[in-house]
């Protein structure tokens, strides 16, 4: 579904995060946009309303949708993300275990036991939405968001893992932290993860981090 969502905005709803990413990447490559922002099941497109007329922009998007969305290339490389689970780095792990009736070892085994894909980057620089979690690990967002979640924190909410590339406020259940640097504004390639990146988490101990 295509809607005009502002004087300089259109919004397209999609079937899946993969479709949103694929459409966004296709539109970005083929058009003159100020922003193309894929969401979980949508793409928001901002155009320069000083230059372009809304009706023309609508037609451009409609033609692209009619021609069909090329599936996104799944990246071949697999990024391994070491995580220290629990303790001071994963302050919500114990509460999570009580809530879902599993031990910490169970949670870690389930979380490290599968391969994931980055569905989307957004909210803060480099924040990665990574799907899909094992159904036994799914809990809603915290009612009271934290004022500050440290960089590298690994959170879960609903069907996804969220990776905080930098410190920010946040409402996800924090189960661990990675020492990997996920965003370096001064690097040539500032973002380690992108939509479509394959990810696997591995458990490490705090000693390994310090040693």
């Amino acid at each position: 579904m295509l809607t005009r969502s502002g004087d300089d905005l259109f919004s397209v709803t999609t079937e899946s995060p993969q479709d949103a990413q694929a459409l966004a990447s296709q539109m970005r490559d083929s058009g003159d946009w100020l922003e193309v922002i894929p969401g979980i099941d949508s793409v928001v497109l901002q155009f320069d309303a000083a230059t372009y007329d809304g009706d023309d922009v609508r037609q451009t998007i409609e033609s692209a949708l009619a021609a069909g969305i090329e599936p996104l290339q799944i990246s071949q490389s697999l990024v391994e993300i070491p995580v220290i689970y629990g303790g001071e780095y994963g302050p919500d792990l114990n509460a999570l275990c009580e809530k879902i009736g599993l031990t910490a070892d169970d949670v870690i085994a389930l979380h490290t036991g599968r391969e994931y894909t980055v569905d989307m980057i957004g909210f803060t620089p480099g924040f990665a939405f990574i799907g899909d979690l094992d159904e036994r690990l799914r809990v809603p967002r915290r009612k009271e968001p934290r004022q500050r979640v440290e960089a590298g924190s690994v959170g879960i909410a609903d069907e996804r893992t969220g990776l905080y590339a930098m410190a920010s406020p946040g409402g996800w259940t924090i189960i661990g932290r990675t020492p990997s640097r996920l965003f370096d504004p001064n690097a040539e390639q500032p973002f380690v993860l992108g939509a479509g990146t394959r990810v696997r988490f591995t458990a490490i101990s705090a000693d390994e981090l310090n040693g």
């Binding site: 969502s5 922003e35 969401g39 979980i40 980057i121």
Partner: protein, 313 residues
């Protein structure tokens, strides 16, 4: 050449142009919350519109000039003094070594801009030297100014200038922002939709570079008020669980999980940076194409004094 920060004011940051085209990587716009006032300050000094300047919030800084140079002050109405003598906003002024510039409390509006010839040296990150406070990059070490900071710049000689009266951005405590309906406007019930556009909203204490919360009648959205994260830009109005509309500003995250109930049109987005707690605000409903006509008229008006207005608004 340098300026030394004696007192930083409430929250002063180095701001320039926004970061554009990176929201899909989670990178917010940043940049001057009121880009028009930034451009006006730079215009007086012969700078490019986005030359990095100080954006001061509600209470301005005290600065010491360590060299002779020209500077200008624009934005919110505030008393400014040079060595204790009141100076005028909207004029290019000259300071000599040892002069102290104090910008006082904003009386109307929220943000003052202090520019120097050539602009301040600042850390360029991802295409802009604007400060991103949340992520901690850009500007001066990605943070707000503190006492003792030394700001560098390369002054040059300029012709003196004043902003013509008709281009002095009016400051007010009552605002009207032209606004379109958005993707989830239909999740509001009828009474709430009516209230959205008929209420004289009050700007809440929670008004900063991230966004502005509006106080007034509680709005009701269908469902539990949560949705899959979707793209937002400055000017997007969300309706969080508490039913108070929240207007996103330049530092807002790039996606959000609350219904997007309206969108402030591009023509009036620059005014978001001047809203202060206690101000009153009406949202004027516009069809998208009406708002575009108004945008183009505004651009045409400003182009004579600010030739780069298309990039500024």
């Amino acid at each position: 050449m340098t300026i030394t920060v004696i007192k930083p004011g409430l929250q002063s940051t180095i701001q320039s142009r926004p970061r554009v085209g990176l929201r899909h990587q989670g990178v917010p716009a940043s940049g001057a919350a009121d880009p028009l006032s930034l451009a006006l300050a730079n215009r007086l000094l012969g700078n490019t519109w986005e030359a990095p300047a100080i954006e001061a919030t509600l209470l301005g800084p005290t600065l010491r000039f360590d060299c002779e140079c020209s500077f200008s002050v624009t934005g919110a109405v505030a008393v400014a003094t040079l060595n204790g003598n009141e100076i005028q906003a909207h004029e290019s002024l000259t300071a000599i070594t040892g002069d102290k510039l104090t910008v006082g409390a904003a009386e109307v509006g929220a943000r003052m801009y202090i520019a120097v010839t050539g602009g301040f040296a600042a850390e360029d990150v991802l295409g802009s030297s604007s400060t991103n406070l949340q992520a901690g990059f850009g500007g001066l070490q990605g943070r707000a100014l503190i006492a003792g900071d030394v700001l560098r710049f390369e002054p040059s000689a300029i012709e003196s200038a004043r902003t013509p009266e008709e281009y002095r951005l009016p400051m007010s405590s009552t605002w009207a922002l032209r606004t379109c309906i958005a993707s989830e406007t239909d999740s509001l019930d009828d009474a709430s939709l009516d209230n959205l556009f008929s209420t004289n909203w009050t700007v809440d204490r929670r008004a900063d570079r991230m966004g502005v919360r509006l106080d007034g009648p509680r709005l009701n959205v269908a469902s539990d008020g949560r949705m899959p994260s979707a793209g937002v830009i400055p000017g997007t109005i969300q309706c969080p669980e508490d039913g108070s509309p929240y207007v996103l500003s330049v530092d807002a995250g790039t996606v959000g999980g609350y219904p997007r109930i309206a969108q402030v049109a591009r023509v009036d987005r620059h005014a978001l940076g001047q809203l202060r707690p206690g101000d009153h605000l009406r949202l004027l409903r516009r069809e998208p194409d009406e708002a575009v006509v108004e945008l183009r008229a505004k651009l045409a008006y400003w182009r004579e004094w600010l030739p780069d207005i298309d990039e500024i608004l």
